[in-house]
């Protein structure tokens, strides 16, 4: 009797799991058992995110998803997101195969964790179009390779944070902090730009008392550890922290709320997340995603290359409408943005990136003191 009961429960569990795993049907379910009802199906869009990430991370995955959703709504196309069970090449390739089997013809890879898997995906599915953010696919030997069906998109995150760092010093903050998640290229660029911006402002204003704390937490999670670290920085005098770590930001916001601190957000405009957010260093993933999808639908998509969006292309910056600076004015912002866009006096090209230095202590600084917490 008990056995019967447990088998029954097991059967229900298995059935409900299968039902739950089935891809959300975007079109009416006609002939559910037949997997090959592809003849009149519209080309699907799939977003791949890393196992470590979350879709609603208030940061880059969410921004990308917005772009996908908006486009899919405008063009009435099916879309979905996929997340591998773990960040291994096998799991990533499997999830891409799953997405393609479900009808995806355009795949957005939004994580630099995928660079080895992307190489396999683009070669085994030549008829599928890919874009990959923040990285370039690599082959077995670690060489960067691009085929015609994939476009690698990068952002000059360091330009956004250069402005943020510059603005923070002009605004009057003297003790700054940077908290990154894992030191992946995009996070490193956010960090270096922030350091360089603060340094440039200190030079321009003739300040010598600007200090910067710098740390990579090693994860992207909102944990008590990350909250406590941020709280201890605020407690020991840090006035403003730029956090570039997706969901971990929530811990820094909480610390700021409890210690009267101020935070600069990341990736998308995070102003609604907390009262303490003064501005955000954004990269316009939503629009870039939308425009890539549009190019694909219009037949003008060109793969096989790397495109970089910076301030000049309108790809990065601060969301001015929600920014709460008082001393750093709109004119200051526009002037700085203009100078970076046109690279006046080499201001933009002199911002260090992840390729220039291995750790932030190697950045030559003229005016500020940097403490790198390892």
């Amino acid at each position: 009797m008990k056995k019967l009961l447990s088998y029954g429960i097991l059967a229900i569990l298995v059935l409900s799991m299968i039902a739950g795993c089935a891809p959300q049907a975007e079109e009416p379910e006609t002939g559910g058992e037949e997997p090959e009802v592809v003849e009149e199906e519209k080309p699907g869009i799939a977003l791949l995110i890393s196992a470590a990430g979350t879709l609603d991370d208030r940061a880059f995955n969410q921004a990308c998803w917005e772009g996908v959703k908006n486009f899919a709504a405008d063009y009435d196309l099916p879309y979905d997101y996929y997340q591998p069970v773990e960040d291994t090449v096998e799991a990533q390739v499997t999830i891409a195969d799953t997405a393609i089997k479900a009808g995806a013809e355009f795949i957005i890879i939004n994580s630099d964790q995928f660079k080895a898997a992307a190489y396999q995906m683009m070669n085994s599915h030549p008829d599928v179009t890919f874009i990959i953010f923040d990285t370039v696919p690599i082959d077995e030997d670690g060489n960067q390779v691009l085929t015609d069906n994939i476009l690698a998109i990068q952002f000059k995150e360091h330009e956004a944070t250069f402005i943020a760092g510059y603005a923070a010093v002009v605004e009057g903050y003297r003790k700054l902090g940077f908290m990154g998640g894992m030191p992946v290229p995009a996070v490193v660029r956010f960090g270096y730009g922030f350091v360089a911006g603060a340094d440039a402002a200190a030079v321009d204003l003739g300040l010598t008392d600007v200090e910067m704390m710098y740390n990579y937490s090693g994860d992207f999670k909102p944990t008590p550890e990350n909250q406590a670290r941020a709280a201890s920085w605020f407690q020991s005098g840090t006035e403003i922290i730029h956090v570039a770590a997706g969901p971990m930001g929530a811990s820094v916001f909480a610390a700021a709320e409890q210690n009267d601190g101020v935070v600069i957000g990341v990736d998308s405009d995070q102003v609604n997340e907390s009262e303490t957010i003064i501005t955000s260093a954004i990269k316009d993933l939503a629009n870039v995603t939308y425009n890539s999808l549009k190019a694909w639908q219009d037949g003008t998509f060109e793969g096989g290359k790397i495109v970089v969006y910076g301030a000049a292309e309108g790809g990065v910056g601060l969301p001015w409408e929600s920014t709460k600076f008082e001393n750093f004015t709109k004119e200051d912002y526009d002037t700085l943005l203009e100078r970076i866009s046109n690279d006046v006096d080499g201001i933009a090209s002199s911002i260090p990136t992840d390729e220039d230095y291995e750790d932030p202590t190697q950045i030559p600084l003229q005016a500020i003191t940097l403490t790198y917490v390892q």
């Binding site: 201890s232 020991s236 409890q258």
Partner: protein, 317 residues
């Protein structure tokens, strides 16, 4: 001095949830059922209570809101733990597997349900729950600054749970019977005590405290709940073992773990420790290293209740 106060205040953020959940798992272990599903139970408790907070934001006063949220988290944990109780007590299932099932179910359910209800897997909340100052008590030097200024109501729950647990376990008939069921279930059974009932109580109390622990864990540490508690349910199990299944020792174990964890997180903000140049890995390693040393060389009493993890079937011995 100010640094010390800050350190102790931060430490409570780590220690109080660990204390609550570890005491919860103690009840379950003492009754003879291993509950490794606490991580999942914490997630479920946090999920329902933050869902409630999200929907009543601005409608009711924050402190009332938090009190109801506490009740909801307790109720959720209790109900969710019944699954584990049913599997391990009625069906005599492997307790590790059924506990792990809860751990696997909860984060997925939380994300899934939140997306259906809110269209967003993360439950954001506005934090209005800090009590700035408790009159009179905040004037006490040192202790007032730590416990009665800028605190959450939930902090005190940890201490209440501790005192109640210590009393119930050692000073009541219920506690004696509960312990007997975990040590040698045939004995209470032979005098007509319903072992299954007591094991149910043990698991339900652990579920209730686990759910509460989820709320207490997330509240001071984030501005949203995203379906995970960073493995603190498992850490609480380590705290319980470290605390040798006894409330007061669990209290010290949780404070000890909390202080080491705090140290590893905040040393960069303390000028003295920052200039020492010890890599952060060292501080992060400390809690686990010390746990292993204590478990390896510690007192002989480090064995749990004897019948823990063993299903009890009437008439079998």
């Amino acid at each position: 001095m100010e640094t010390l106060i800050f350190f102790l205040r931060q430490m409570l953020n780590f220690s109080i949830p660990l204390l609550i959940v570890a005491i919860g798992s103690m009840y379950s272990s003492r009754s003879g059922v291993v509950n490794i599903g606490l991580d999942g139970i914490m997630i479920m408790g946090a999920f329902t209570s933050f869902m409630f907070i999200r929907f009543t934001e601005g409608i009711m006063p924050p402190q009332l809101q938090i009190i109801i949220a506490i009740i909801i988290s307790i109720a959720t944990g209790l109900i969710f733990s019944l699954l584990h109780a049913f599997a391990s007590i009625n069906l005599n299932a492997d307790q590790i597997i059924s506990g792990q099932a809860l751990n696997m179910f909860a984060p997925a359910f939380s994300v899934f349900a939140a997306r259906i209800i809110l269209g967003d897997s993360i439950i954001s909340f506005r934090n209005f729950f800090i009590i700035e100052e408790i009159p009179f008590l905040s004037k006490i030097p040192f202790i007032g600054d730590i416990l009665f200024r800028d605190v959450y109501l939930t902090t005190y729950l940890g201490f209440i749970v501790l005192i109640v647990a210590n009393f119930v376990l050692y000073r009541t008939r219920f506690g004696l019977r509960l312990r007997a069921c975990g040590e040698h279930p045939q004995a209470p059974d032979s005098v007509g005590i319903n072992v299954r009932k007591f094991r149910y109580f043990g698991v339900m109390i652990s579920g209730a405290l686990g759910g509460l622990g989820g709320l207490v864990f997330v509240l001071p540490n984030s501005t949203n709940f995203n379906g995970q508690v960073s493995g603190y349910g498992f850490l609480a199990l380590a705290v319980m073992i470290f605390g040798q299944w006894s409330p007061m020792k669990i209290f010290f174990a949780s404070m000890f773990f909390g202080s080491l964890k705090t140290m590893s997180a905040i040393y960069s903000g303390l000028p003295f420790f920052n200039t020492l140049g010890i890599p952060s890995e060292f501080y992060k390693l400390m809690p686990y290293l010390i746990t292993m040393i204590v478990l390896a060389f510690g007192p002989k009493g480090l064995t749990g209740p004897r019948a823990e993890g063993k299903p009890f079937q009437k008439g079998m011995s």
